[in-house]
Symmetry: C2
């Protein structure tokens, strides 16, 4: 079976994820683990990496959670399918660039994914829609416990789990939530929030992790430290901060709607207008405009339009997902045209945002 046949369709995935939370797009917990007495992937020779990879992959595949899973060596995966995994946040950009000696195992429901021989021997993650940090933690904790019975982890009683990079040492955990913060961006308060979050020892990043732009007003908040606190404490701490950011975002939206409703309607209206009628649109512009459309749906300006529509367009307009739909290799210019065609087509049945109270009737100089 090819990965593209295994993956849930974007439409189905969007339907499944959309009702989860208006502001938190997804919750994720990943654990970094390594095998005792085995060279870290970055230092290991290729034959050793391949051997380790096969050993780990067999262990992961044997887990009950991985019944019906899809696993593949990175060298056997076409570039386009790698990119689709990145766009779905299932593997990292770095892992997508790997070849023989690295692989991944993806659970049937796409909520669990284990990268093998990324920076560490194992990077296992649980990805769930909406605000489900504890649920994501529990799911990956079970995977970890089950694997620990099958594999001999590199563990120090003093330092905890050993990792290739010291920033992951100890628990090896990274807890993160992807937040949609258009209100804070429009109110120009988002940098203030980022600074406050940084002071709490948490990181705020763009859509695709470190050093990436905050496209589509999406921000990923995650823990920086992995040492000195229990996994459960870290999950709880991130959850509290996320709850506070949600409140700030809701507050921003309320203040904007009260103080500058026209500015909000203008942003949303223009975004809708361009999406519904453009014939050429880049991936970045589409994401930024879809973010405003999502805000409009959240604010009730598009009655009857499901959030799933935006979720789906968000996914299918990204370069690899778009390329996948077409047999021929597309240039960036061609993608921009097909992306616009697809968005226009999907918004054909979506009416203009419900305007605020109408302006007085048209009246001209010269009319008596």
């Amino acid at each position: 079976m090819k990965l593209s046949e295994f993956l849930t369709s974007a439409e189905e995935l969007a339907r499944r994820n959309a009702p989860a939370h208006p502001i938190v797009m997804s919750s994720r917990v990943r654990l970094a683990r390594n095998l005792r007495g085995t060279t870290f992937p970055g230092w290991a020779k290729k034959p050793d990496r391949i051997k380790t990879c096969e050993k780990i992959q067999a262990a992961v595949e044997s887990l009950p959670q991985m019944t019906g899973a899809f696993s593949q060596s990175m060298d056997a995966l076409p570039a386009l399918e790698k990119q689709i995994l990145v766009e779905r946040h299932l593997v990292s950009r770095e892992h997508a660039a790997k070849g023989a000696g690295s692989s991944f195992v993806l659970s049937r429901d796409e909520t669990l994914c284990v990268m093998i021989n990324e920076e560490d021997h194992l990077r296992m993650q649980s990805l769930r829609p909406g605000l489900q940090l504890s649920e994501a933690w529990r799911a990956i904790d079970e995977v970890d416990s089950a694997l620990e019975k099958r594999l001999d982890y590199a563990f120090s009683p003093e330092l905890g789990y050993l990792t290739a990079c010291p920033t992951n040492l100890g628990t090896g955990i990274r807890v993160s939530a992807m937040l949609h913060l258009p209100g804070l961006v429009l109110a120009e308060q988002v940098n203030q929030i980022i600074q406050a979050v940084n002071k709490l020892g948490l990181a705020v990043r763009g859509l695709y992790g470190e050093n990436t732009e905050a496209l589509g007003n999406l921000f990923q908040v995650s823990n920086q430290m992995t040492l000195g606190e229990s996994e459960a404490a870290l999950v709880e701490k991130l959850g509290k901060v996320v709850t506070q950011i949600i409140e700030q975002e809701e507050n921003s939206r309320a203040v904007l709607l009260e103080k500058k409703p026209k500015v909000v309607f203008n942003h949303i209206g223009r975004a809708y207008g361009i999406l519904a009628s453009a014939h050429i649109i880049s991936s970045k512009e589409a994401m930024n405009l879809l973010s405003l459309l999502r805000l409009g749906i959240d604010l009730g300006l598009f009655p009857g339009v499901p959030l799933a529509l935006v979720e789906e367009l968000f996914l299918v307009t990204q370069p690899a997902h778009l390329q996948f739909r077409f047999a021929d290799k597309l240039s960036a210019d061609e993608r921009d045209i097909l992306r616009a065609d697809m968005i226009r087509e999907r918004l054909r049945t979506v009416n203009r945002p419900q305007p605020p109270p109408a302006a007085p009737p048209l009246d001209n100089p010269g009319e008596t």
Copy 2:
């Protein structure tokens, strides 16, 4: 009667003008004349200016063409109504700034307007929709001949009609056409055309005459020289050049549609989308987007939508026309909101531009 009660409504004016020509918005001929033995307005003392003004105004009002005309001293005209005359191209910006001792006479059908004591004692113009240079010339020539029987013009057998500025000496004629050239602008050929037209001794200016921007892709082409050729020859010459520019514009549109249809549809679609859904829009942006909407109507992308709609919006969204509709003095920010409200309201019944052949149906990775 107030000027605002006299003026034709923008809606009626648009209906009257719109079917005239797809590319030529209007044709205009103006003549500069002065009275013999009378100081030019710029050098005359105020009491003399007032005396001259009254004398000329009486002569103009007595013309059969001016039956039912509206005339008023510039000092008696509210600033807002002056600005409305400027937005309708009936008086110059310079004349609108004048006070006592200057006036204007506007014919019942608004096609003839005589400015008294602008730069010259008389600046009489004929303004017609579409490509009607000869008709405009004939109409103003008749006014001029009739006035010459009532007033003693400053005329030199060698130099012709004397004028305050030597650039108007001789015939005192300025023939101009307002052209809508979005095709040449999109194809980035308009500067080339302007240079070619300049070499023929003609001037190309923006919407409101000298030193103004080419807003809304509108360009005014006019003769520079007033000496050494007959009025009829100058009118004919301008007519020939305008015909050539029309051909160039039509050619640009055809080439764009053939070579870059998506670029054209994209510009028109986005313009429509923003106009139909924005809640804040400046006068300049509105004009530039309405220009593209007009292009879309010309190209058949909005079946059933009359050009008059764009003509009307073009006029009523300009600052003074917009201000006129509302009792309270508006700030620029308030105007931008009311302008957007008005445009959205008027485009409510205008459907999205007819798209070119539809994209293939939505199809996602994971669908089998």
